[in-house]
């Protein structure tokens, strides 16, 4: 990102002059108080928002100027995990994970194979036929992670993924992210909880009032 600005109105600047670089297969944290701009920064990366100015180079493409038709293609290469999971309550665990592969038009057999493989990775293969309402918070978050990585995206973004979880579960989540990262996926996590990041010597970028105060370029 180079000199990126984002505001939601004349009196509501969200991000000011953001410049940062994240290398391929890096595992990085975004920290800062509420309202610092962590979520806004992540939203720029999967084009839920458009910056007002600046450049955002993602996998060699300037996504700040990406046409509307190409957005779905970008989002297939970027997996996103949310604090509130955003699972489909009427579908089973495996159907929730399979969505990501269905939108790409993968054959049914491959969808089943990848879904099973991904659920095994997150430790939920035995819950494939369950509905999200029957799962604990930690399990639901793991389903959300499984959905985000089912098609082996290049980048995984997580916005407060442990916000609704207790410390033990949070640790498990970060371990899972670490394992995903070890397979070559670039991971960016926005979080208040930096205990695990510090222990594992992960890079942390701190935001305050829409500006990077440490860890940027």
């Amino acid at each position: 990102m180079y000199h990126v600005y984002l505001s939601y109105g004349p009196d509501s600047p969200a991000l000011c002059d953001i410049s940062l670089r994240v290398d391929k297969a890096e595992f990085m944290f975004l920290s800062g108080p509420s309202g610092a701009g962590k979520s806004s920064l992540l939203r720029l990366l999967f084009l839920a928002e458009r910056c007002n100015s600046g450049q955002i180079l993602l996998m060699g493409e300037n996504v700040a100027k990406l046409g509307a038709r190409k957005i779905p293609l970008l989002r297939r290469r970027v997996g996103v995990v949310f604090q509130d999971f955003k699972l489909l309550p009427e579908r089973t665990v495996s159907e929730n994970v399979a969505i990501r592969l269905e939108v790409e038009g993968k054959p049914r057999r491959e969808i089943q194979r990848k879904t099973t493989e991904t659920l095994r990775l997150v430790g939920l293969e035995h819950k494939a036929s369950s509905c999200p309402s029957k799962l604990s918070g930690g399990e639901q978050q793991r389903v959300a992670i499984a959905r985000a990585i089912a098609n082996d995206p290049a980048i995984l973004l997580a916005d407060e993924p442990t916000g609704n979880l207790d410390p033990d579960l949070s640790r498990q989540m970060y371990q899972l992210f670490n394992e995903i990262n070890s397979r070559g996926t670039t991971v960016l996590v926005a979080s208040h909880d930096l205990g695990w990041a510090g222990q594992n010597l992960k890079r942390v970028i701190r935001l305050e009032q829409g500006r990077i105060v440490s860890g940027g370029l």
């Binding site: 779905p72 989002r75 489909l88 969505i99």
Partner: protein, 296 residues
Amino acid sequence: MAYIAMSWVKTWRQLKRTPVLTGVTLATFALVFFILGMLVFTGHHLVALSERMQQGTELSVFLAESCSLDQREQIQKSLRVAPGVRDQRFWEKNEATDRFRKLLGEHAYVLDGLEKDLLPASFEVSFSQTAGVDPIRRLAGELSQMKGVESVEYGEGWVDRLVPMVHSIRTLMAVVGGSILFVGLLIMANTIRLSIFAQQEEIRILRLVGATERFIKTPFFLAGGFLGGLGAGLGGVASWLLFLTWIPEIALPGWLLELRWNVGFLPGYWLGWMIALGVLVGVLGTWFSLVRTASG
């Protein structure tokens, strides 16, 4: 192929998710097309009847008892040179009565006990399709002034009223039919919009995981077309069933018998057209709804 199959699976899942809404939409569409079917049925037969009446407009020249051979020949000569006349035929008295008996068919018993030569001798004149009513009216006026002619009839009362009346009915049916179809379109648009609102969260998530607009919208179009086609088919079949139970109970008036006009249902291909129209209205209603619903 796989994409279409998957789209149908999603469509079916979508319809099952809102069974009440799906059922009400289907029933409403069936009603819309039932009414349309009855309108088309009525319009089709009115038009056919009108054409038959116009084509079959014949002028009857009834001769007086005292009509001489010379007078008869004069009348025949006039008919031969009259514009628009396609054919003329002379009926002797007994021939005219026999002919009338045949027209009455199973009701011919009403003539039993009456004189054999009940009807006068007459000329029956038929006209070309393009003749129009005016030449007939003029000829009738001329003939009624001739010696030997008792009376001239061509059904002037109802023929003069029929043509503009049928035209008005056609126009009215087109307007009513068009309005009914528009109502159907609005119903489908609202149904799809409700369906979209019910699935807003799912649509949002689909966009987040990289679904294209085509992937998201195709099931809605398939649902709209399916409900429209099925509703139209049900409505068409319902109007046919009504015809089967109701029409045989109606006693046709004599003038229809004379025209040998048969009240049959619509031709078979009309149901195909109705279904195609139902699919089109369903798809259009869906498009209308999707255009008005903002994309996220």
